[in-house]
């Protein structure tokens, strides 16, 4: 596609020192591209939440981002355990994060709810034992 830029980020498992690198890089690229501050904010918050989820729950994974003049699409793909009950996972405050993760200040149960809140469209495909792919779209306005 002519008018699309593709970015790819590898998210490594359980490495909190590097969590947020991908969303931070994407944020700076979008700012450089002149995407409106509000859109940049939504993308960066949604993507950071997703990135942290991949680190905590899914042994990392790959994030592919497509930017067109109309929208930013983030595809977060992991080969983690999968989500047994999506409705439950979408509830604010529901978390399956272990205590050691919570003690780091993560695992507040706001990951997926925030991803939904800050994106204009979110789709979850998950299969137990195979992995999860979350596709989020934020419109550029």
């Amino acid at each position: 596609m002519e008018d699309t830029i593709k970015l790819e980020y590898i998210v490594s498992a359980e490495d909190f020192t590097r969590a947020g690198e991908a969303s931070s890089d994407l944020k700076n690229i979008l700012k450089q591209m002149g995407v409106s501050p509000d859109t940049v904010r939504k993308v960066s918050i949604a993507m950071y939440e997703g990135e942290i989820n991949m680190v905590i729950h899914a042994n990392g994974g790959v994030i592919t981002v497509f930017v067109t003049p109309k929208e930013v699409t983030m595809i977060l793909k992991d080969s983690g355990p999968g989500i047994p009950d999506i409705d439950k996972a979408m509830q604010a405050g529901y978390s399956t994060a272990p205590d050691n993760i919570r003690s780091l200040g993560f695992g507040a149960g706001m990951g997926l709810p925030n991803m939904k809140k800050y994106s204009d469209d979110m789709k979850i495909e998950t299969e137990l034992g195979v992995g999860t792919t979350v596709t989020m779209t934020v419109r550029i306005c």
Partner: protein, 480 residues
């Protein structure tokens, strides 16, 4: 001056005769504002935030600061010195601030007004403002002009969190002038209000303030310039210091990181210092990682204002000295109800986002330029060696796409070209003999190749890396 120049006025400039064209400053600049071009460091005006990192890092002392001289005292009928709180920490065994303040009078000022005293009023006003505007929490301190300038160009989403209260030096200048006018009956323009600054950032603030149209400060001297002149006067002042000090612990505390936050009298704060740390905090703040805090204090210099490049003492030693000085002082000595003069504490001009790093006019144009940048980055070695004069391979790629550099600025790209040319030359010369063609045509073709090779090698000579020419181009700043 045109608007752009005023908007991006800078106090930091380059002394070209001292610049060796090394890459120390380009590597340390937090906004990647410096490029070495034709063997000299150029500052891109719009990117520079006057933090002073390049002044600190240049081992050839080629980065200078536009600063006033003590001669300016002669330009006014009456002068008032505004010493910054961090200045108190520059002297050994100073137990009484009055010794320093008296020495300033002996040096030639008619009066002194402590910036620390004004800082106590700013703390008071900030507490009230933060309390009554909870919807904008967390507030970001605006006392460090480099931080405000950084947010203006890089963090558009945080502009609404800037605390719209004037910095202590501005409040001090207003009070000092009003007090001097009342005392002397002189008109405002006969009174010189002169700030003694720890950093270039404050010089920039005075010439081109953010948050207000015009600063009430008339001139700025550097602590390091005044320091040696003060020492003999302090010896004399020690005998019978005048009673001039009106700042308490909160005001003087502003000189160190955490001091301003201390004046907020809340536990719900964060204080970060050092420009790299400041950027990290702003990045996280932008992602709403700690929205529940009330107040964020940020200082571009390590240790806070004591770390300013115009100060002389090691910032951490200075911090210890401030602690000692503050030990027996009351919490605050200057309160708004004691001030009979009406002063302005709030910003009267909003700060607006300046998207200086934007790569294209539209998102579509940016996408295409981003693609070019990516493909250039893939060609570069990724060593970030700085030989091209840009701080990283990516920065060079951006410069090329912006039309400000060329691919051959990369020594590795250039070297590959030369290899390729010489290989082709060698191959052709062998083939020519084997084929037994017209010897004149062969020689002609080989000569052409030789010329190209010589041209490319000449380009290598003109490269920043080995350029020894002294470049006398006008203008210290490098603009579009």
């Amino acid at each position: 001056m045109n608007t752009l120049n005023t908007k991006f006025f800078h106090s930091v400039y380059l002394d070209e005769s001292l610049c060796k064209g090394c890459i120390n400053c380009i590597k340390r600049c937090p906004t990647q504002a410096i490029r070495v071009r034709n063997g000299k460091a150029r500052i891109t005006s719009q990117f520079c935030i006057d933090c002073g990192e390049c002044v600190r890092t240049c081992s050839h002392h080629a980065k200078k600061i536009h600063i006033d001289s003590l001669d300016m005292l002669n330009d006014y009928a009456y002068t008032v010195a505004l010493p910054a709180p961090s200045m108190y920490a520059q002297f050994n065994n100073l137990d009484d601030v009055n010794i320093l303040l008296t020495a300033l009078i002996y040096l030639g000022f008619d009066d002194v007004f402590e910036v620390g005293a004004a800082a106590e009023l700013v703390s008071e006003a900030s507490r009230k403002y933060v309390d009554t505007h909870q919807e904008q929490w967390p507030f970001i301190s605006t006392a460090c002009p480099s931080v405000v300038r950084l947010i203006r160009v890089r963090f558009p989403n945080l502009i609404d969190h800037l605390l719209p209260i004037l910095p202590p030096v501005e409040v001090a200048a207003q009070l000092a002038r009003k007090r001097a006018m009342a005392k002397t009956g002189l008109p405002a323009d006969k009174i010189g209000i002169i700030f003694i600054s720890p950093c270039p950032s404050k010089v920039t603030y005075v010439k081109s303030p953010l948050g207000t149209d015009h600063s009430a400060v008339d001139g700025v001297l550097a602590v390091k310039d005044v320091y040696p002149l003060l020492l003999p006067h302090m010896k004399i002042a020690e005998q019978r210091p005048m009673d001039l000090a009106i700042s308490g612990r909160i005001g003087i505390g502003w000189g160190c990181s955490g001091g301003e936050a201390g004046g907020m009298i809340t536990d719900s704060y964060l204080a970060a210092d050092g420009i790299e740390n400041v950027i990290r905090v702003l990045e996280d703040l932008e992602d709403e990682k700690f929205a529940r805090l009330q107040f964020i204090e940020l200082n571009a210099c390590s240790g806070g204002c004591v770390g300013g490049v115009l100060n002389v003492e090691n910032p951490y030693v200075a911090k210890a000295k401030i602690k000692r000085l503050n030990k027996y002082l009351p919490v605050a000595r200057t309160h708004s109800e004691d001030i009979p003069l009406k002063i302005e504490l709030n910003w009267n001009k909003a700060v607006e986002y300046e998207p200086v790093f934007q790569i294209g006019e539209t998102v579509l144009e940016s996408i295409n330029k981003m693609k070019q940048i990516d493909s250039l980055c893939n060609e570069f070695p990724g060593l970030d060696c700085g030989s091209c004069g840009a701080p990283s391979c990516r920065a060079l790629a951006e410069d090329i796409v912006r039309g400000k550099a060329e691919k051959n600025d990369c020594v590795y790209i250039l070297r590959n070209h030369i290899h390729l040319l010489s290989e082709t030359y060698s191959r052709f010369s062998h083939e020519a003999i084997v084929d037994g063609e017209d010897p004149n045509a062969c020689i002609h073709m080989l000569m052409n190749y030789m010329d190209k090779l010589t041209e490319e090698i000449a380009l290598l000579d003109s490269h920043n890396l080995i350029n020894t020419d002294s470049d006398t181009e006008e203008g210290k700043h490098y603009d579009d």
